[in-house]
Symmetry: C2
Subunit: 330 residues, 2 copies
């Protein structure tokens, strides 16, 4: 919870744990709640905005940084934003939030150049690792103050292991430490830490940074590095976005699908992939995920024998088309 | 077309090319056509049976070999067969077809221990490479008399290239030649042959033998080797099938999904994967496809950072669960 005035008012809730969820559900039973302001525009905030719109509530979203989904290719982020706005959500990016006030039993979220009235405010920003205990105990901290662990999940104290959103991980593309608090890694790290504690050696390779979410009818999937991350990590990134179809043309239910692929100019190595569309996005990313773990070049990936059947895709899977087109730039 | 009596009768049609499709559509406009017998039970035959049932026709399928989808794990094949039979199709496996007779304007497909009356018969068996011209020209033939080509699609004559269902390919798991006539390879080989002919060097790695199809509501995907192929190729195969869920439990639209994974006991290498279910099967196979191209072990694959979001899968993708369970047997 940001340390700002009014964030402790009744009706202002974080979206973090089971208690928060129960509190939100209870509040929503109050028929006077008609307007909700969500502070933040990450996955959780977007999933909340969809859920609230499904209940018929008016929803505004606000965040300090000006770019909607900044980690996503710009044209792709614009399409996701269009989908959110088309579903009646007010999207206000680039407004620093100063405080929340209470007037006549309603809330007012006061921002730079913008004030939003609300019956309820949800806070979905400022995720930080829950590493206070570790820090106070003198354990080494890593990226963004997450608990530094090796591939065995061992901290700087050989008798202490850490697993979950509090701990860091190796990134399989950069080989460097990263902090990406997502469910699969947290779950997997829990098992591996337990194995190690019980004397069964377990080493984790690391994460590719895969994330998938859906907001309204738009599906978004991403893995590896985007161009900016890639440049920061010392690569010479080249990227290309293609538009293809989610299914064979002969299928009426085919939808447009966009794939953005990023590679390293020097080595031809695949560095990352992003996919958006309304159909067939989520599982498609996994071909690229495995390619990242294997350290494949775009050329190698472009030759993979991905499945084809008209109800599920075109002859050339959109990921293959993306790889073929990116090859032309390398 | 098999060289058997009556296969040249009117109303008996192969399912091979555009002309066949047009002939079938024309015949189906005749309202007297109510019963169709399909000879064969491969992808094409199954796709045809679904299309004909959708038109309200009675459909029987017959083939000589006793096992339905013999390349698929037995319990999985049984589930696909159940789905076909639940949609009112008569499945008669293990009946050698002797001839087709004509009686009073109707057809009779005469088999070992079985005769099936029909208004129309479709023949979807006996696919062979179209390599006669190549053979007569003295070009070397490969697996199942397909045209032998190297990774540049060059035949035994350095000035002749071959691409498409007529030509063979290297299998990325065995490293040996195989003949798997499917659309992506044929298409890709056409491009690569054209590049080579035009002086642009192009080499194809080979195929993983990926196939995907849908019959009624059942989706089936397979890549790499099954246990039998793996043993024949000199591996020491171990396999394990798991049942998981296509989406997070909290999602009402989640369906059971079965994943069978095959590995080599000696090296731990992933050799093949098969998936069936009514939801989320087709694109899931592609993670395993890329792993086969990369020569990954099951342990390496089990650590991949596959995407997770509740609308699209459980925290551990079914492919990961399959890998984790198979590891216990290795």
């Amino acid at each position: 919870m940001p340390d700002l005035p009014g964030f402790d008012l009744a009706g202002v809730t974080a979206v973090k744990n089971l208690q928060d969820a129960r509190r939100i559900k209870t509040q929503l039973q109050n028929p006077r709640i008609k307007n909700v302001v969500i502070i933040g525009m990450g996955y959780i905030a977007l999933e909340m905005c969809e859920a609230l719109r499904a209940l018929g509530l008016a929803v505004d979203m606000v965040k300090p940084r000006p770019v909607f989904l900044p980690w996503l290719e710009e044209a792709m982020a614009a399409k996701v934003r269009e989908e959110v706005e088309a579903n009646g959500v007010g999207v206000h990016a680039g407004h620093k939030v100063h405080r929340i006030e209470q007037h006549n039993g309603r809330l007012k979220v006061v921002c730079d150049g913008l004030s939003l009235d609300a019956d309820m405010a949800l806070v979905g920003i400022g995720v930080t690792p829950n590493s206070d205990v570790a820090e106070r105990s003198g354990l080494a901290l890593g990226v963004q103050k997450s608990i530094a662990v090796d591939r065995s999940l061992r901290t700087s104290d050989e008798n202490i292991y850490a697993a979950g959103d509090c701990a860091d991980a190796y990134h399989v593309v950069t080989g460097k430490k990263t902090w990406i608090p997502l469910a699969l890694r947290a779950n997997r790290a829990g098992w591996a830490a337990a194995d190690n504690v019980c004397g069964i050696p377990a080493q984790l390779q690391g994460v590719a940074g895969t994330s998938v979410f859906r907001v309204f009818d738009m599906q978004v999937a991403s893995t590896g590095l985007n161009e900016k991350n890639a440049a920061e990590a010392g690569f010479d990134p080249v990227s290309n976005m293609i538009k293809s179809a989610s299914r064979a043309h002969s299928y009426g239910s085919s939808q447009p699908i966009w794939v953005n692929m990023i590679a390293d100019r020097k080595t031809g190595r695949l560095l990352g992939t992003q996919i958006i569309g309304k159909d067939g996005v989520a599982h498609r990313i996994n071909a690229a995920v495995v390619a990242l773990h294997a350290g494949m070049t775009v050329e190698q990936f472009s030759q993979t024998d991905l499945g084809y059947a008209p109800p599920f895709g075109p002859t050339w899977d959109p990921c293959l088309t993306a790889a073929m087109q990116l090859l032309k730039k390398l």
